[in-house]
């Protein structure tokens, strides 16, 4: 069962995933979008991903600590109870690459994800919900970092 892998450039079209050992599921979702991880701001990231201008919304939730003792491991969560969300993104405003993670939401999972991110410095953290109708909603929270998390 071979699927051809196509590299995405600046497009939001879907591509087939390569199932190299038959382990990867067949998804009609994007191959790794390296360009998205080079974006420096939410606005240009969302534009690249084909969403409209982001609007702050109380229906999207970003969770995280007020103060992170260790910027290498900051627990953050993004969620929304709104129906019709296609992707949930976690952004760290002052990181060299603003996008930390992009989750494709299916009907089988809640639109709610928690992970841990590295933060280089105190910064706003965003949860961005990209809706099926093209709307983009976000929530933000300031996370102060006492010890930056990018090593070096």
């Amino acid at each position: 069962m071979l699927n051809r892998r196509t590299l995405l450039t600046h497009s939001t079209k879907v591509a087939a995933l390569l199932a190299s050992a038959g382990l990867l599921p067949q998804f009609a979702h994007a191959a790794y979008n390296a360009a998205a991880f080079e974006m420096k701001t939410m606005a240009e990231l969302v534009k690249l991903l084909g969403g409209s201008a982001p609007i702050e919304s109380k229906d999207v939730t970003i969770t995280g600590p007020d103060i992170a003792e260790n910027g290498a491991v900051v627990p953050v969560g993004a969620s929304t109870a709104l129906p019709g969300v296609k992707r949930l993104l976690i952004l760290v405003e002052k990181n060299p690459s603003v996008l930390s993670a992009a989750f494709d939401v299916s009907d089988s999972v809640d639109a709610s994800f928690t992970t841990r991110v590295k933060m280089g410095q105190s910064s706003n953290v965003y949860a961005v919900a990209m809706m099926g109708d093209g709307k983009v909603l976000f929530a933000q929270k300031e996370v102060k970092v006492t010890l930056g998390g990018c090593g070096g």
């Binding site: 790794y32 990181n95 690459s97 996008l99 494709d104 809640d110 933060m119 990018c150």
Partner: protein, 103 residues
Amino acid sequence: MADPMRIRAQMAGDKATVRVLMNHEMETGLRRDPAGKAIPAWFIQDVSAQHNGKPILTAQWGASISKNPFLQFSVKGAKAGDRIAVTWKDNKGDTRTDEATVS
């Protein structure tokens, strides 16, 4: 390739809460070694999960996800005994899949 993931999947109401701890350096490519040479980027880019073989989640990560990544999500319509599999693939093409049973 890497140590196994630790996956815990537990019923909470009518959904299963899945917590995964992966083993990976998640090197950003921005750090330098003591000699001043940049340590190459090495990080998980693609994550996917299946519930009883059916794909339920895909995610794309950047290098800013913490080392030994943690992920938590909630699966609708799961029940005890169901299988949850999680797969990751990194920028070097390494990949790993681990499975757990919902308790």
